[in-house]
């Protein structure tokens, strides 16, 4: 099946800093999503982005499907950005069931 690698695995920031999270995948994809899991365990949809660039406030994401990676940018980070960020993809040859990366754990200090 498709392999999904996220980096870095852990990230510690001071409030106000910017960061870039990366998701590499081993095959072409139908769908790619970024999620934020808050400290209470809830998964929040950030972006549905199989290709191109999207922005939502301080967050933006870019997927370069031909090169098999996606980037999530967090600008002016806030303590509420803390949590785990997951990338999930599914491939045309699969069964449209997403495969999740291991996530990037982000801690933002005040």
């Amino acid at each position: 099946g498709i392999q999904v690698e996220q980096s870095p695995p852990d990230l510690i920031l001071q409030e106000g800093a910017n960061s870039t999270l990366r998701c590499n995948f081993s095959d072409s994809v139908n769908n790619l999503q970024w999620f934020h899991q808050n400290p209470w365990g809830q998964l929040i949809n950030l972006f549905y982005i199989p290709s191109g660039t999207k922005q939502n406030g301080r967050l933006s994401a870019t997927t370069v499907a031909t090169e098999r990676y996606s980037l999530l940018y967090i600008s002016s980070s806030q303590t509420t950005d803390s949590g785990v960020y997951f990338c999930a993809v599914d491939s045309p040859g699969g069964s449209y069931i997403p495969t999740f990366g291991r996530g990037t754990s982000l801690i933002v200090h005040p």
Partner: protein, 113 residues
Amino acid sequence: SAVISQKPSRDICQRGTSLTIQCQVDSQVTMMFWYRQQPGQSLTLIATANQGSEATYESGFVIDKFPISRPNLTFSTLTVSNMSPEDSSIYLCSVSSTYGELFFGEGSRLTVL
């Protein structure tokens, strides 16, 4: 986007007992999934809940341990049977839109003593 309600949101259970988690969606959906997230880990797909037929289980998960029902297109249950401390996890219900976007319920945090 779909609104997904799960209950219970959390529970503490004794070893050897069973717990049923309910998932209710505010609209009819074709694809519904159950995931498990063990402490500090990523999400692992348990099974696809199929309406009107047996669920499709992923490798490592079996119906006797995780029976799933899906009587209609808006509701599903997952039972964790004969629990052990290793079953302590967050269990998440998820649905997929027609173009493949996933939405999750709030999750059910299960602790087994």
